[in-house]
């Protein structure tokens, strides 16, 4: 693939989803929740309902457009939380070192050894379903990679003279960590965070699929897939389109992440 294509394709997909999410009320032809009408239940895709209707006669396209809001919001918010936690821990562990580093590393290994979704499931079971618990459950369980990467980056950067010279000029540890080091290690972190949005969207869909995420009748892609399960044989479009949306969103963030890596990594510039 041509260099930069990842970036544009990924960015294009994300932009499209973002536009749908932001302008959902203008784009969706029907209301995603109250338009239920059993007269039109399980209509195949056609002129009236572009992508068909579900078992309650609600327009799938409208529900998908509104579902994009949830997916995008959860994906971004969760990743902001994960990145904030991971980077703060990794940055301080790498810079301060000693017992703090040992402790953070132990915690990171612990987090890595438990599958994120299992951990999130356990947390959701305690917190109960809902948007806030979803944010907490996903936002605090997937920071191990950004933590590892920021720590490793700090270790290579902190021996460089500019860090030493900032200390020599009397700047405190917080200044050195966030003003000197953070901007210089931001490249790889942006890549990890971007790809993480895809996994966060996937995790949200999984939890909603299991009935622990967004509470019905609010539309979410995972929830739509879950209720489509039973009609998979008679009305496959109920499952196919939200599935495709999910696929496109995750693919979009992964391509964007790949593209950003090629863009930000100076070593990759000469490579094909």
């Amino acid at each position: 693939m041509k260099a930069g294509a990842n970036l544009y394709v990924g960015g294009g997909i994300i932009l499209l989803i973002a536009v749908l999410a932001i302008f959902a009320p203008l784009i969706a032809p029907y209301d995603p929740v109250t338009s239920a009408n059993l007269m039109y239940a399980e209509e195949p895709p056609g002129a009236q309902f572009w992508l068909g209707t579900d078992e309650q006669g609600r327009d799938i396209f409208s529900r998908m457009v509104y579902g994009a809001r949830i997916s995008l919001f959860i994906g971004l918010a969760v990743q902001v939380m994960n990145t904030a936690i991971g980077v703060s821990l990794g940055l301080s562990a790498g810079y301060i070192g000693g017992w703090w580093d040992e402790m953070v590393q132990g915690l990171t290994n612990l987090m890595l050894s438990i599958p994120t979704i299992v951990f999130a499931l356990a947390l959701m079971a305690i917190l109960g379903p809902g948007l806030l618990s979803l944010l907490i459950a996903l936002g605090m369980t997937d920071w191990a990679y950004s933590c590892r990467i920021s720590r490793a980056q700090v270790l290579t950067q902190k021996s460089l003279n500019y860090v030493q010279s900032a200390r020599t000029m009397g700047f405190g540890p917080l200044h050195v960590m966030f003003r000197e080091l953070l901007p210089n290690i931001a490249g790889p972190l942006i890549v990890v965070a971007t790809m993480g949005v895809g996994s966060a969207i996937m995790a949200e869909a999984s939890l909603s699929f299991l009935g622990l995420g967004v509470v019905p009748p609010n539309p979410s892609w995972g929830g739509m897939l879950s209720s489509a399960r039973e009609q998979l044989m008679v009305a496959p479009w109920v499952a196919i389109f939200p599935g495709l949306a999910l696929f496109a969103a995750v693919l979009g963030f992964n391509l964007l992440g790949d593209g950003l890596r090629d863009l930000l990594d100076p070593h990759g510039k000469g490579r094909k």
Partner: protein, 325 residues
């Protein structure tokens, strides 16, 4: 009247990673007066840079100050709490490094990096700090400072970057500037300019300079007094003129003899430069007696028996040798 800025007394720095601490630097005594340029010379690994880091309070584990005092304008830096030490750094003690290529943050404009000093230590606003930064760039003779202030380090040459470093280091009028081999990484033509610049600015401000170098020629030319370090100890401390015309310690003599000088080969009829045989012993293998004994031409059994202390020379200065010239 001369006013002492820095007084280092019996400084010892130890490597504390084993069961017993090992002294990497010990018995270091020197003082620097206001406006004076003091040279610290020695080969790699002799403890020069450790001394510099100790002065700036930046020794990292496993290295730690294990004894002695570092009096800067009367305050002992060796026992100062980290918070107060941080306040002094950049404010009273500043440092310039040998690598101007990496000593600046690559993602900040030089103006911001100079300006930060005024914001941190003088409490100026960003706008006022910017004006001061332009002024500071002007003082280090950077042309069109109003424009250069928005440049990033990669847009500047090595000499320019070192000028920016000097501007940062001298921004808050420190009492002491530690220059750790400031010209090693620069072109020969620029070296002289940079050294002259540092000296001019420091002379004008009365800043004491501690010049760390292994360039004896440079030290001879610009320093008032010089201390020569070997294996963690000062072995000779004299006025700069004396140390090169009449070195007292065999090690200093070796260093001076190893210098190429125009016309000297003809004068002495020798074919090649004299070198000092052997290498500096590792920290854990320092000899019992005189540390230079294994490499010394004048060694006698009593040199190896017990540690040698500093003695005063008749012609001024001090030397750590039983058989000095």
């Amino acid at each position: 009247m001369t006013e002492t800025v820095l007084d280092v007394r019996d400084l010892a720095i130890s490597l504390c990673d084993g069961p017993t601490p090992v002294a990497a630097v010990e018995g270091v005594n020197f003082s620097i007066n206001r406006g004076e340029v003091f040279g610290l010379v020695g080969e790699s690994g002799c403890g020069k840079s450790l001394c510099a880091l100790a002065l700036a309070g930046l020794l990292k584990a496993p290295m730690a100050i294990s004894g002695g005092q570092i009096l800067l304008e009367g305050r002992d830096l060796a026992t100062l709490p980290p918070r107060e030490m941080r306040h002094l750094r950049g404010n009273k003690v500043s440092m310039i490094f040998q690598e101007p290529m990496t000593a600046l943050n690559p993602l900040m404009t030089v103006g911001d990096q100079i300006g930060e000093m005024f914001v941190l230590h003088r409490g100026l606003t960003a706008r006022a700090a910017r004006m001061k930064a332009i002024e500071a760039l002007e003082q280090v003779q950077v042309s069109s400072p109003e424009r250069r202030i928005n440049a990033y380090p990669h847009q500047l040459s090595g000499g320019m970057r070192q000028r920016v470093m000097i501007a940062i280091a001298l921004a808050c009028d420190p009492a002491l500037l530690i220059a750790d081999e400031p010209t090693t990484a620069l072109d020969v033509t620029i070296q002289a300019e940079i050294v002259e610049l540092v000296l001019d600015l420091c002379r004008a401000r009365g800043t004491a300079v501690m010049m760390i170098s292994h360039d004896l020629g440079l030290v001879a030319r610009i320093c008032n007094r010089v201390a020569v370090m070997y294996a963690g100890q000062i072995v000779e401390q004299r006025s700069a003129g004396d140390i090169f015309t009449a070195p007292a310690h065999p090690y200093t003599r070796g260093l001076v003899d190893a210098l190429p000088r125009l016309g000297r080969r003809l004068e002495r009829g020798q074919e090649r430069l004299t070198e000092i045989g052997g290498v500096v012993p590792a920290i854990r293998d320092f000899p019992q007696g005189c540390r230079f004994a294994p490499r010394c031409g004048r060694v006698t059994p009593e040199c190896r028996a017990a540690p040698v202390s500093m003695t005063d020379l008749n012609k001024g200065g001090r030397v750590r040798c039983l058989h000095h010239v």
